[in-house]
Symmetry: C2
């Protein structure tokens, strides 16, 4: 019943979503500096030139993270979907992204109507669409 | 310091990954019956014909989930990536998927070498690639 691991290993879980990226350092910079994630793990594969970084808001055992892989040759493809990230400081993140030239599928609605929430749809450096919403404290 | 909510709302988090699907009921069946997720929420949008289901292994406030949306017209596109799910009964899940005619990008390696783990790369009903790994109890 008790185990030294927080996760007893028997519970199914969503581990990560993997995305091909063109420039791993550029993507790591975006997800850490702009979106506030941490680099959890990196792998360098010299045999096939694929470099991998796991980034997220929590540990890989406790939360779902992003797996970013360069060198796959499949960067920049769209699947018609998005990932959704909730942040406590959406206005400042969007202002920074605009200042740095990031593109938006739908810019921030700075004064949302009563039934709306504060939301922006941005693109990461490879064009991955990211729904950004505000968490109220 | 203490709050009645487990999540105090100030912590950024990865909320979901959204995928267009052709047949929402078919996708719900796959993610619940085959992969063991639960339907957390559904939305019907009569104005634009988009139906949405949130499925996952935990609640939307505590974990990252999948948002499945039908009626977007963008189903079946690939982004060169995958989602990764860890399950406690990988062999039986793969056997069931094979029996039901699901395709695999890479079938289960039933007797992995010492440095390998038990893993299969399958496709969901819309061709979304899913890395399936075994969690040992």
């Amino acid at each position: 019943m008790t185990d030294h691991l927080a996760d007893d290993g028997a519970t199914p879980r969503l581990r990560h979503a993997m995305f091909p990226v063109r420039d791993l350092d550029r993507s790591i910079d975006f997800y850490t500096r702009i979106l506030g994630m941490s680099v959890l793990r990196q792998k360098l594969n010299r045999s096939n030139g694929r470099n991998t970084a796991y980034v997220g808001y929590g540990g890989e055992q406790e939360s779902t993270v992003l797996e970013l892989v360069s060198g796959t040759g499949k960067e920049g493809m769209s699947w018609g979907g998005h990932i959704a990230v909730a942040v406590p400081d959406l206005r400042s993140i969007c202002a920074r992204m605009e200042a740095e030239g990031f593109r938006f599928a739908r810019p921030l609605n700075p004064t949302p109507a009563a039934a709306e929430r504060l939301v922006a749809y941005a693109y990461d450096p490879d064009g991955i669409e990211i729904e950004l919403t505000q968490i109220e404290r």
